[in-house]
Assembly symmetry: C2
Homo-oligomer: 212 residues x 2
Protein backbone atom coordinates (compact mmCIF):
# COMPACT_ATOMS: atom_id res chain seq x y z
CA UNK A 1 0.00 0.00 0.00
CA UNK A 2 2.73 2.38 0.87
CA UNK A 3 4.74 4.02 -1.83
CA UNK A 4 8.04 2.28 -2.18
CA UNK A 5 8.53 4.55 -5.14
CA UNK A 6 11.22 7.10 -4.32
CA UNK A 7 9.18 10.13 -5.20
CA UNK A 8 9.97 13.40 -3.54
CA UNK A 9 7.54 16.09 -2.59
CA UNK A 10 7.92 19.83 -2.41
CA UNK A 11 6.72 21.34 0.79
CA UNK A 12 7.19 24.52 2.70
CA UNK A 13 9.18 23.80 5.77
CA UNK A 14 8.30 25.55 8.96
CA UNK A 15 9.86 25.16 12.33
CA UNK A 16 7.85 22.05 12.99
CA UNK A 17 10.44 19.64 11.67
CA UNK A 18 13.36 21.44 13.17
CA UNK A 19 14.27 19.95 16.52
CA UNK A 20 15.96 22.61 18.58
CA UNK A 21 18.55 24.43 16.58
CA UNK A 22 17.44 27.85 15.52
CA UNK A 23 17.51 28.50 11.86
CA UNK A 24 19.62 31.46 10.94
CA UNK A 25 17.47 32.33 8.03
CA UNK A 26 13.84 32.84 8.91
CA UNK A 27 12.64 32.52 5.35
CA UNK A 28 10.44 29.56 4.61
CA UNK A 29 12.65 27.67 2.26
CA UNK A 30 11.30 25.10 -0.14
CA UNK A 31 13.10 21.83 0.19
CA UNK A 32 12.87 18.41 -1.31
CA UNK A 33 11.82 15.86 1.25
CA UNK A 34 12.81 12.24 0.94
CA UNK A 35 12.58 9.18 3.09
CA UNK A 36 11.88 9.78 6.74
CA UNK A 37 11.35 13.51 6.40
CA UNK A 38 8.75 12.92 3.74
CA UNK A 39 6.97 10.29 5.80
CA UNK A 40 7.08 12.51 8.83
CA UNK A 41 5.54 15.34 6.88
CA UNK A 42 2.81 13.08 5.53
CA UNK A 43 1.97 11.98 9.06
CA UNK A 44 1.93 15.55 10.23
CA UNK A 45 -0.44 16.61 7.47
CA UNK A 46 -2.76 13.69 8.04
CA UNK A 47 -2.80 14.33 11.77
CA UNK A 48 -3.66 18.00 11.32
CA UNK A 49 -6.51 17.07 9.05
CA UNK A 50 -7.91 14.35 11.30
CA UNK A 51 -7.58 16.27 14.55
CA UNK A 52 -9.39 19.14 12.91
CA UNK A 53 -12.42 17.20 11.78
CA UNK A 54 -12.61 14.19 14.06
CA UNK A 55 -12.93 13.87 17.78
CA UNK A 56 -9.66 13.58 19.62
CA UNK A 57 -10.40 10.07 20.83
CA UNK A 58 -11.55 9.13 17.35
CA UNK A 59 -8.51 10.44 15.54
CA UNK A 60 -6.51 7.35 16.36
CA UNK A 61 -2.91 6.70 15.56
CA UNK A 62 -4.08 3.99 13.19
CA UNK A 63 -6.37 6.33 11.31
CA UNK A 64 -3.71 8.98 11.05
CA UNK A 65 -1.15 6.50 9.76
CA UNK A 66 -3.64 5.09 7.31
CA UNK A 67 -4.46 8.53 5.92
CA UNK A 68 -0.77 9.33 5.64
CA UNK A 69 -0.04 6.09 3.86
CA UNK A 70 2.45 5.26 6.56
CA UNK A 71 2.79 2.72 9.29
CA UNK A 72 1.22 3.27 12.72
CA UNK A 73 4.48 2.41 14.39
CA UNK A 74 6.20 5.30 12.66
CA UNK A 75 3.74 7.77 14.11
CA UNK A 76 4.89 6.94 17.61
CA UNK A 77 8.48 6.59 16.53
CA UNK A 78 8.61 10.07 15.05
CA UNK A 79 6.41 11.97 17.46
CA UNK A 80 6.73 10.09 20.71
CA UNK A 81 3.06 9.97 21.61
CA UNK A 82 -0.33 10.89 20.31
CA UNK A 83 -0.59 13.92 22.56
CA UNK A 84 2.80 15.18 21.41
CA UNK A 85 1.71 14.73 17.82
CA UNK A 86 -1.37 16.79 18.58
CA UNK A 87 0.64 19.59 20.13
CA UNK A 88 3.08 19.68 17.23
CA UNK A 89 0.49 19.68 14.49
CA UNK A 90 -2.53 21.56 15.78
CA UNK A 91 -1.43 25.17 15.89
CA UNK A 92 -2.92 28.54 15.24
CA UNK A 93 -1.81 30.78 12.47
CA UNK A 94 -1.51 34.51 12.72
CA UNK A 95 -4.61 35.26 10.73
CA UNK A 96 -5.73 37.92 13.16
CA UNK A 97 -2.60 39.97 12.83
CA UNK A 98 -3.82 41.82 9.80
CA UNK A 99 -7.09 42.81 11.40
CA UNK A 100 -5.33 43.68 14.62
CA UNK A 101 -2.83 45.93 12.87
CA UNK A 102 -5.31 48.64 11.94
CA UNK A 103 -6.72 51.44 14.08
CA UNK A 104 -8.92 50.81 17.09
CA UNK A 105 -11.84 52.31 15.22
CA UNK A 106 -13.77 49.49 13.59
CA UNK A 107 -11.45 46.88 15.02
CA UNK A 108 -14.29 44.78 16.42
CA UNK A 109 -15.92 44.42 13.02
CA UNK A 110 -12.60 43.66 11.32
CA UNK A 111 -11.81 40.91 13.82
CA UNK A 112 -15.17 39.20 13.37
CA UNK A 113 -14.88 39.56 9.64
CA UNK A 114 -11.41 38.03 9.67
CA UNK A 115 -12.70 35.14 11.73
CA UNK A 116 -15.61 34.46 9.41
CA UNK A 117 -13.45 34.40 6.31
CA UNK A 118 -11.19 31.85 7.94
CA UNK A 119 -14.08 29.45 8.22
CA UNK A 120 -12.38 26.73 6.22
CA UNK A 121 -8.92 27.27 7.47
CA UNK A 122 -6.81 26.48 10.46
CA UNK A 123 -8.22 28.86 13.03
CA UNK A 124 -11.62 27.26 13.45
CA UNK A 125 -10.24 23.76 13.24
CA UNK A 126 -7.54 24.33 15.81
CA UNK A 127 -9.96 25.87 18.27
CA UNK A 128 -12.48 23.07 17.83
CA UNK A 129 -9.84 20.39 18.18
CA UNK A 130 -8.41 21.93 21.31
CA UNK A 131 -11.77 22.52 22.94
CA UNK A 132 -12.83 18.93 22.40
CA UNK A 133 -9.50 17.72 23.72
CA UNK A 134 -9.58 20.15 26.62
CA UNK A 135 -9.79 17.30 29.07
CA UNK A 136 -6.03 17.13 28.72
CA UNK A 137 -4.42 19.76 30.88
CA UNK A 138 -1.50 20.21 28.50
CA UNK A 139 -3.78 20.94 25.60
CA UNK A 140 -5.99 23.17 27.72
CA UNK A 141 -3.03 25.27 28.72
CA UNK A 142 -1.81 25.45 25.16
CA UNK A 143 -5.11 26.92 24.02
CA UNK A 144 -5.12 29.39 26.87
CA UNK A 145 -1.62 30.50 25.96
CA UNK A 146 -2.61 30.96 22.35
CA UNK A 147 -5.53 33.15 23.37
CA UNK A 148 -3.24 35.34 25.41
CA UNK A 149 -0.58 35.56 22.74
CA UNK A 150 -2.99 36.28 19.92
CA UNK A 151 -5.35 38.61 21.70
CA UNK A 152 -4.66 39.79 25.18
CA UNK A 153 -1.02 40.71 24.76
CA UNK A 154 -1.32 42.59 21.47
CA UNK A 155 -4.62 44.23 22.36
CA UNK A 156 -4.42 45.16 26.02
CA UNK A 157 -1.67 47.80 25.71
CA UNK A 158 -3.65 49.62 23.08
CA UNK A 159 -6.88 49.94 25.04
CA UNK A 160 -7.66 53.21 26.80
CA UNK A 161 -9.53 53.43 30.04
CA UNK A 162 -9.82 51.09 33.01
CA UNK A 163 -9.56 47.29 33.05
CA UNK A 164 -7.67 47.17 29.77
CA UNK A 165 -6.29 43.67 30.28
CA UNK A 166 -9.64 42.33 31.41
CA UNK A 167 -11.43 43.91 28.48
CA UNK A 168 -8.92 42.46 26.03
CA UNK A 169 -9.45 39.02 27.52
CA UNK A 170 -13.21 39.43 27.26
CA UNK A 171 -12.97 40.39 23.60
CA UNK A 172 -11.30 37.02 23.09
CA UNK A 173 -14.11 35.39 25.06
CA UNK A 174 -16.70 36.95 22.78
CA UNK A 175 -14.91 35.56 19.79
CA UNK A 176 -14.62 32.14 21.40
CA UNK A 177 -18.37 32.07 21.89
CA UNK A 178 -18.93 32.77 18.23
CA UNK A 179 -16.59 29.94 17.24
CA UNK A 180 -18.45 27.65 19.63
CA UNK A 181 -21.66 28.34 17.78
CA UNK A 182 -20.43 28.23 14.22
CA UNK A 183 -17.57 25.75 14.20
CA UNK A 184 -18.24 23.43 17.13
CA UNK A 185 -22.00 23.28 17.53
CA UNK A 186 -22.55 23.94 13.84
CA UNK A 187 -25.50 26.22 14.38
CA UNK A 188 -27.14 26.26 10.97
CA UNK A 189 -28.91 29.57 11.50
CA UNK A 190 -25.72 31.24 12.59
CA UNK A 191 -23.79 29.81 9.66
CA UNK A 192 -26.50 30.94 7.27
CA UNK A 193 -26.47 34.51 8.54
CA UNK A 194 -25.05 37.05 6.15
CA UNK A 195 -21.41 37.55 7.02
CA UNK A 196 -21.46 41.27 6.62
CA UNK A 197 -24.49 41.64 8.86
CA UNK A 198 -22.96 39.32 11.43
CA UNK A 199 -19.70 41.22 11.36
CA UNK A 200 -21.53 44.48 11.91
CA UNK A 201 -23.78 43.34 14.73
CA UNK A 202 -21.29 41.24 16.66
CA UNK A 203 -18.41 43.54 15.78
CA UNK A 204 -20.29 46.33 17.52
CA UNK A 205 -20.47 44.21 20.66
CA UNK A 206 -16.72 43.67 20.56
CA UNK A 207 -16.20 47.33 19.93
CA UNK A 208 -18.11 48.06 23.11
CA UNK A 209 -15.26 46.49 25.04
CA UNK A 210 -12.53 47.93 22.85
CA UNK A 211 -13.80 51.50 23.11
CA UNK A 212 -16.25 51.73 25.99
Amino acid sequence: MTTAEPRSVKIVRHDASVPKAMKQSDEADVVELKGAAKTRQAISDAARELFAHEEYANASVRNIASKAGADPALVIRYFGSKEQLFLETVQFEGFFELAMAGPLEGLGERIVSALLSDQRDAGFSAYRAMMRASGSEVIRRRLLEAIHEMFVEPLAPRLKGPDAALRARLVAAQLAGLIDGIAILEDAELAATDRKRLSEVYGAALQGLIQP
Copy 2:
Protein backbone atom coordinates in the same frame (compact mmCIF):
# COMPACT_ATOMS: atom_id res chain seq x y z
CA MET B 1 -7.13 -14.13 27.19
CA THR B 2 -8.11 -12.40 30.33
CA THR B 3 -6.32 -12.58 33.61
CA ALA B 4 -6.39 -16.16 34.85
CA GLU B 5 -4.26 -15.01 37.70
CA PRO B 6 -6.33 -14.05 40.73
CA ARG B 7 -5.27 -10.49 41.19
CA SER B 8 -6.17 -8.64 44.31
CA VAL B 9 -7.13 -5.47 42.48
CA LYS B 10 -10.87 -5.42 42.34
CA ILE B 11 -13.71 -3.04 42.52
CA VAL B 12 -14.14 -2.21 46.15
CA ARG B 13 -17.67 -2.51 47.34
CA HIS B 14 -18.79 0.23 49.64
CA ASP B 15 -21.63 -1.74 51.11
CA ALA B 16 -19.97 -1.84 54.51
CA SER B 17 -19.36 1.88 54.51
CA VAL B 18 -21.99 3.47 52.40
CA PRO B 19 -21.74 7.23 52.60
CA LYS B 20 -25.30 7.98 53.60
CA ALA B 21 -24.92 11.72 53.33
CA MET B 22 -23.47 11.87 49.86
CA LYS B 23 -25.61 14.72 48.77
CA GLN B 24 -27.35 17.17 50.96
CA SER B 25 -29.77 18.21 48.30
CA ASP B 26 -32.95 19.41 49.84
CA GLU B 27 -35.09 17.81 47.22
CA ALA B 28 -36.88 14.49 47.31
CA ASP B 29 -34.51 13.03 49.82
CA VAL B 30 -37.41 12.27 52.07
CA VAL B 31 -38.03 9.16 50.04
CA GLU B 32 -35.73 6.28 50.86
CA LEU B 33 -34.76 4.56 47.68
CA LYS B 34 -34.26 0.83 47.79
CA GLY B 35 -33.10 -1.86 45.45
CA ALA B 36 -32.92 -1.04 41.79
CA ALA B 37 -34.18 2.50 42.20
CA LYS B 38 -31.44 3.25 44.68
CA THR B 39 -28.76 1.73 42.48
CA ARG B 40 -30.06 3.57 39.48
CA GLN B 41 -29.95 6.82 41.37
CA ALA B 42 -26.40 6.16 42.54
CA ILE B 43 -25.33 5.50 38.97
CA SER B 44 -27.06 8.64 37.79
CA ASP B 45 -25.33 10.76 40.42
CA ALA B 46 -21.93 9.27 39.72
CA ALA B 47 -22.38 9.77 35.99
CA ARG B 48 -23.36 13.40 36.40
CA GLU B 49 -20.29 13.98 38.53
CA LEU B 50 -17.88 12.21 36.20
CA PHE B 51 -19.23 13.64 32.97
CA ALA B 52 -18.93 17.07 34.52
CA HIS B 53 -15.30 16.85 35.47
CA GLU B 54 -13.76 14.24 33.22
CA GLU B 55 -13.42 13.97 29.51
CA TYR B 56 -16.25 12.12 27.84
CA ALA B 57 -14.01 9.34 26.62
CA ASN B 58 -12.43 9.10 30.05
CA ALA B 59 -15.69 8.91 31.94
CA SER B 60 -16.02 5.23 31.20
CA VAL B 61 -18.86 2.99 32.17
CA ARG B 62 -16.51 1.18 34.49
CA ASN B 63 -15.43 4.37 36.22
CA ILE B 64 -19.00 5.48 36.65
CA ALA B 65 -20.01 2.14 38.08
CA SER B 66 -17.05 2.11 40.39
CA LYS B 67 -17.88 5.56 41.71
CA ALA B 68 -21.48 4.52 42.19
CA GLY B 69 -20.47 1.37 44.01
CA ALA B 70 -22.42 -0.61 41.46
CA ASP B 71 -21.67 -3.11 38.77
CA PRO B 72 -20.73 -1.94 35.27
CA ALA B 73 -23.28 -4.26 33.77
CA LEU B 74 -26.07 -2.48 35.61
CA VAL B 75 -25.12 0.82 34.01
CA ILE B 76 -25.91 -0.53 30.58
CA ARG B 77 -28.85 -2.52 31.86
CA TYR B 78 -30.54 0.52 33.33
CA PHE B 79 -29.62 3.18 30.80
CA GLY B 80 -29.15 1.28 27.56
CA SER B 81 -25.91 2.91 26.47
CA LYS B 82 -23.31 5.37 27.61
CA GLU B 83 -24.61 8.09 25.33
CA GLN B 84 -28.13 7.60 26.62
CA LEU B 85 -26.84 7.82 30.17
CA PHE B 86 -25.14 11.09 29.27
CA LEU B 87 -28.28 12.55 27.80
CA GLU B 88 -30.38 11.53 30.79
CA THR B 89 -28.01 12.84 33.42
CA VAL B 90 -26.32 15.91 31.97
CA GLN B 91 -29.01 18.55 31.83
CA PHE B 92 -29.31 22.24 32.34
CA GLU B 93 -31.35 23.83 35.05
CA GLY B 94 -33.37 26.93 34.69
CA PHE B 95 -31.00 29.12 36.62
CA PHE B 96 -31.24 31.94 34.13
CA GLU B 97 -34.97 32.31 34.42
CA LEU B 98 -34.75 34.61 37.40
CA ALA B 99 -32.31 36.96 35.75
CA MET B 100 -34.24 36.83 32.53
CA ALA B 101 -37.49 37.70 34.23
CA GLY B 102 -36.58 41.29 35.05
CA PRO B 103 -36.59 44.36 32.84
CA LEU B 104 -34.35 44.76 29.84
CA GLU B 105 -32.47 47.49 31.65
CA GLY B 106 -29.46 45.93 33.33
CA LEU B 107 -30.30 42.49 31.98
CA GLY B 108 -26.78 41.91 30.65
CA GLU B 109 -25.21 42.43 34.02
CA ARG B 110 -27.81 40.29 35.77
CA ILE B 111 -27.23 37.41 33.35
CA VAL B 112 -23.46 37.46 33.82
CA SER B 113 -23.90 37.74 37.55
CA ALA B 114 -26.27 34.78 37.59
CA LEU B 115 -23.79 32.76 35.58
CA LEU B 116 -20.90 33.56 37.89
CA SER B 117 -22.79 32.58 41.01
CA ASP B 118 -23.59 29.23 39.47
CA GLN B 119 -19.92 28.43 39.23
CA ARG B 120 -20.17 25.26 41.31
CA ASP B 121 -23.49 24.11 40.07
CA ALA B 122 -24.98 22.35 37.14
CA GLY B 123 -24.81 25.06 34.50
CA PHE B 124 -21.07 25.22 34.06
CA SER B 125 -20.64 21.49 34.34
CA ALA B 126 -23.29 20.69 31.81
CA TYR B 127 -21.88 23.12 29.28
CA ARG B 128 -18.36 21.84 29.75
CA ALA B 129 -19.44 18.23 29.49
CA MET B 130 -21.44 18.84 26.34
CA MET B 131 -18.71 20.87 24.67
CA ARG B 132 -16.14 18.18 25.29
CA ALA B 133 -18.53 15.54 24.02
CA SER B 134 -19.59 17.66 21.05
CA GLY B 135 -18.09 15.14 18.67
CA SER B 136 -21.35 13.28 19.05
CA GLU B 137 -24.00 14.80 16.85
CA VAL B 138 -26.78 13.90 19.26
CA ILE B 139 -25.08 15.68 22.13
CA ARG B 140 -24.16 18.63 19.93
CA ARG B 141 -27.77 19.08 18.93
CA ARG B 142 -28.92 18.76 22.51
CA LEU B 143 -26.68 21.62 23.56
CA LEU B 144 -27.79 23.76 20.65
CA GLU B 145 -31.42 23.13 21.57
CA ALA B 146 -30.74 24.10 25.16
CA ILE B 147 -29.16 27.37 24.05
CA HIS B 148 -32.20 28.20 21.99
CA GLU B 149 -34.66 27.21 24.69
CA MET B 150 -32.88 29.05 27.46
CA PHE B 151 -31.86 32.17 25.61
CA VAL B 152 -32.98 32.81 22.11
CA GLU B 153 -36.64 31.95 22.53
CA PRO B 154 -37.26 33.85 25.75
CA LEU B 155 -35.09 36.80 24.79
CA ALA B 156 -35.67 37.43 21.10
CA PRO B 157 -39.33 38.50 21.35
CA ARG B 158 -38.43 41.11 23.93
CA LEU B 159 -35.70 42.83 21.93
CA LYS B 160 -36.51 46.03 20.07
CA GLY B 161 -34.92 47.01 16.82
CA PRO B 162 -33.57 44.98 13.89
CA ASP B 163 -32.05 41.49 13.97
CA ALA B 164 -33.68 40.61 17.28
CA ALA B 165 -33.29 36.85 16.85
CA LEU B 166 -29.69 37.18 15.74
CA ARG B 167 -28.85 39.48 18.61
CA ALA B 168 -30.42 37.10 21.13
CA ARG B 169 -28.36 34.26 19.71
CA LEU B 170 -25.22 36.37 19.95
CA VAL B 171 -25.87 37.20 23.58
CA ALA B 172 -25.81 33.46 24.20
CA ALA B 173 -22.54 33.28 22.24
CA GLN B 174 -21.02 35.93 24.48
CA LEU B 175 -21.97 33.92 27.51
CA ALA B 176 -20.62 30.73 25.99
CA GLY B 177 -17.26 32.40 25.46
CA LEU B 178 -17.12 33.37 29.11
CA ILE B 179 -17.89 29.81 30.18
CA ASP B 180 -15.16 28.59 27.84
CA GLY B 181 -12.65 30.73 29.66
CA ILE B 182 -13.70 30.15 33.23
CA ALA B 183 -15.08 26.64 33.33
CA ILE B 184 -13.42 24.82 30.45
CA LEU B 185 -10.01 26.40 30.03
CA GLU B 186 -9.86 27.33 33.70
CA ASP B 187 -8.30 30.72 33.08
CA ALA B 188 -6.88 31.60 36.48
CA GLU B 189 -6.84 35.34 35.86
CA LEU B 190 -10.43 35.33 34.76
CA ALA B 191 -11.50 33.24 37.72
CA ALA B 192 -9.64 35.56 40.07
CA THR B 193 -11.31 38.66 38.71
CA ASP B 194 -13.75 40.32 41.04
CA ARG B 195 -17.22 39.05 40.18
CA LYS B 196 -18.90 42.38 40.48
CA ARG B 197 -16.37 44.05 38.21
CA LEU B 198 -16.62 41.23 35.70
CA SER B 199 -20.41 41.39 35.73
CA GLU B 200 -20.29 45.11 35.10
CA VAL B 201 -17.74 45.06 32.30
CA TYR B 202 -18.96 42.01 30.42
CA GLY B 203 -22.57 42.74 31.27
CA ALA B 204 -22.19 46.03 29.45
CA ALA B 205 -21.02 44.15 26.37
CA LEU B 206 -24.12 41.95 26.52
CA GLN B 207 -26.26 44.99 27.06
CA GLY B 208 -24.88 46.41 23.84
CA LEU B 209 -26.67 43.64 21.97
CA ILE B 210 -29.77 43.70 24.13
CA GLN B 211 -30.30 47.44 23.77
CA PRO B 212 -28.19 48.71 20.86
